[in-house]
């Protein structure tokens, strides 16, 4: 019997979000709601020093006086901040000496996510930090990295073992006063990853963090802090998934990158939080502040493949403070069904001869709304600064939307700024051409979309490029109309 469109539809509905499983493990959870005592509770749970508790309490005060921003091109019901639990940890009885002691249920979760630690160790030489709900569960490869003086551990461990580094850099790029969600994060962040690359060291493997929201009714507020000391190099990747749930889950993370003189940080994200169902019910609110600070001759490169989340609000940015610093932003953002994304970047040129590149590829399908929002600011002292921006939008249906909001502020007449933008619709004749050559519709869409997003996908480390391509395929199945 021929495989009909109806069959295809059924198949798609069944395989929609393959990471929608819930791991059945006991968790240690704070009561819902947010107040000063919850902040103290979290800090105490984590056995934190006084300076960090003070930092949190200050942030909480700042947040209490802030209003949730509404300027983004997204519509959603605001989270009820008193209905969320701000701390949820998988229950574990004792400190873990090595990976073999991780809870078997948790290990299963990791396996399902395709990050079997052994595999990763053996095949790709990727060091992984795994953050489930709020707590970092396992960090592989620590010893080997330690020989080079590289610190790669959970944020909590860093607070205990390297307080001087954390104290010096935390909040130096994204202060608690920065915005509503950054302030919230500063008050209640639970864990995250910390990475320090010493002077002149080139990190020999990809460092990777895997985030997962598991418990219901919890928010995830992790912090990532990456410090690349002078002349060092690191490539860092984060991946995210969450189980399928009817309510909206809040994810408000903060990522800070610091590239000292001549250092280079490559930060790649494959974001696949649960996007909600076909009707737009449920899904993750992804309100994230990511920013990097570049000192002289340093380089920060953001690459993101965004396919998940019900609402995304995210602008990985670079402050090009030092002369000759380079900032790059490569992004593919896919929205399907009722997803909404307002994403882009800020390139702040302060130093002389600073250079930035922005390549943004939006893909909208279903009834989704996909916006690019970007700022290029050339300061007074940024002589001969250069920026190139390219923002392309691809529409898959006639019910979705693509929007571009580019802002340019230039205070220096020696600067060069270029901006290119295109909008196109996936062509029926392109698909028919592929069909005639024996390439099925699903494969054809994936081929065309991957071709469209190639400049960005090429920036990803090899192993993740493959994962990203698969994700694009899954996110867009059956979406042409």
């Amino acid at each position: 019997m021929a495989y009909t469109e109806g069959d295809l539809k059924k198949d798609l509905e069944n395989k929609e979000y393959e990471f929608g499983f819930v791991t059945d493990i006991e968790s240690d959870k704070a009561p819902n709601g947010l107040n000063e005592s919850i902040v103290r509770f979290i800090s105490e749970k984590k056995n934190e020093p006084d300076w960090l508790l003070d930092y949190r309490l200050k942030a909480f005060k700042i947040w209490s006086n802030m209003i949730e921003p509404e300027w983004a091109h997204v519509k959603y019901e605001k989270p009820k901040f008193q209905d969320i639990s701000y701390y949820s940890a998988p229950k574990q009885k004792k400190e873990l000496a090595n990976l073999d002691e991780v809870d078997p249920e948790l290990r299963k979760t990791m396996d399902k996510l395709g990050i079997s630690m052994e595999e990763q160790k053996r095949l790709s030489g990727v060091a992984v930090d795994f953050v489930m709900d709020s707590v970092s569960v396992a960090t592989s490869f620590k010893e080997k990295l330690g020989e080079l003086g590289i610190i790669f551990c959970s944020f909590s461990e860093a607070v205990q073992n390297h307080p001087e580094l954390v104290k010096k850099y935390m909040g130096s790029v994204v202060p608690a006063t920065d915005n509503f969600y950054a302030a919230l994060n500063a008050a209640v962040f639970s864990d995250g990853s910390f990475c320090y690359i010493p002077k002149g060291v080139s990190c020999p493997m990809e460092l990777s963090t895997y985030f997962r929201i598991n418990d219901s009714g919890t928010g995830q507020f992790e912090r990532t802090l990456v410090v690349a000391d002078k002349g060092s190099y690191v490539s860092y990747l984060e991946g995210c998934t969450a189980p399928q749930r009817d309510e909206n889950q809040l994810h408000a993370a903060v990522v800070e990158l610091i590239a000292l003189d001549d250092a280079e940080i490559k930060y790649s994200t494959v974001q696949n939080w649960y996007p909600g169902d076909k009707q737009g019910k449920g899904g993750v609110f992804n309100f994230v502040t990511k920013r990097g600070l570049c000192h002289e001759r340093s380089k920060i490169s953001w690459t993101q493949v965004e396919t998940g989340s019900a609402v995304t609000w995210k602008y990985p940015s670079c402050i090009l403070k030092g002369d000759n610093a380079v900032g790059e932003f490569y992004s593919v953002a896919v929205t399907n069904n009722h997803q909404q994304a307002d994403t882009g970047t800020k390139m702040i040129h302060i130093g002389k001869n600073t250079k930035s590149t922005i390549i943004s590829k939006g893909i909208s399908a279903g009834f989704s709304q996909n916006s690019y929002r970007g700022l290029v600011r050339i300061g007074k002292g940024a002589d001969k600064a250069r920026n190139f921006s390219q923002c392309d939008s691809l529409l898959m249906t006639d019910r979705c939307g693509a929007h571009t909001f580019p802002y340019i502020e230039c205070e220096n007449s020696t600067a060069q700024i270029e901006h290119e933008a295109t909008t196109s619709k996936i062509g029926e004749d392109q698909i028919f051409y592929c069909l005639q050559r024996g390439i099925s519709e699903e494969k054809a869409i994936s081929l065309i979309v991957n071709g469209y997003a190639k400049e960005v996908l090429n920036q990803l480390p090899m192993e993740f490029a493959v994962e990203a391509q698969k994700l694009l395929e899954i996110s867009l199945e059956g979406s042409v109309g």
Partner: protein, 254 residues
Amino acid sequence: MNKNIINIKGLKCEIEGKEILKGIDLQINKGEIHAIMGPNGSGKSTLSSVLAGKDEYEVTSGSVDYLGKDLLDLSPEERSWEGVFLAFQYPVEIPGVSNVNFLRTALNERNKYKRLDPVSAKNFLAMVKEKSALVGLDNKLKNRSVNEGFSGGEKKRNEIFQMAMLEPTLSILDETDSGLDIDALRIVSNGVNQLKSNENATLVITHYQRLLDYIVPDFVHVLYDGKIVRTGGKELALELEEKGYDWIKEELAV
């Protein structure tokens, strides 16, 4: 043994309620080259689209038997896997997808359908080398995005290169000569002739007799107003060239 590749009987089709093909009968056997000629708007390109399975056309009656299968019952990709190839009049550009990646995907999808192993990188590259020589396709075009920034002639050569790679049983060339200068015409025709065997067949759709100097047909059919109104040998093409299509129109009006 059955020599028949395709047998079209009483094929009628319409688009948005307008009838374009008004009863086509055509039989093509192994080893044959057929040419379909006709004035603009006679339904030539519609016929090729219907055979390839483009869904904007609705077949209202008639049947198409292809190697014992009901062609109209197969999806466009199944037709391709079964060996039907259409060289497009206007080949489509697919930015960011390299020509070789595109072809490798096509070959592997077909192999999957036929329950064969995927083609190995080594065999694939050997095949690319051999087949591209056939149409003199520039080496750098093979790694460029499908048809993106190709000249008109390069696009047509690329169609024949793809045809060579996919080794179809029935090739339909839809106005492959349009937009070709005389040198390109010679190269493209030469490629088509070399791909001809006793096991496959070619249907050439064209406006002008010129192409048929290079690809010599066994049969020439004149399509006019959705019907084949005349069939003959290659001399029919010459007669058309000399007298124009008005001659047929007048004769039919009588």
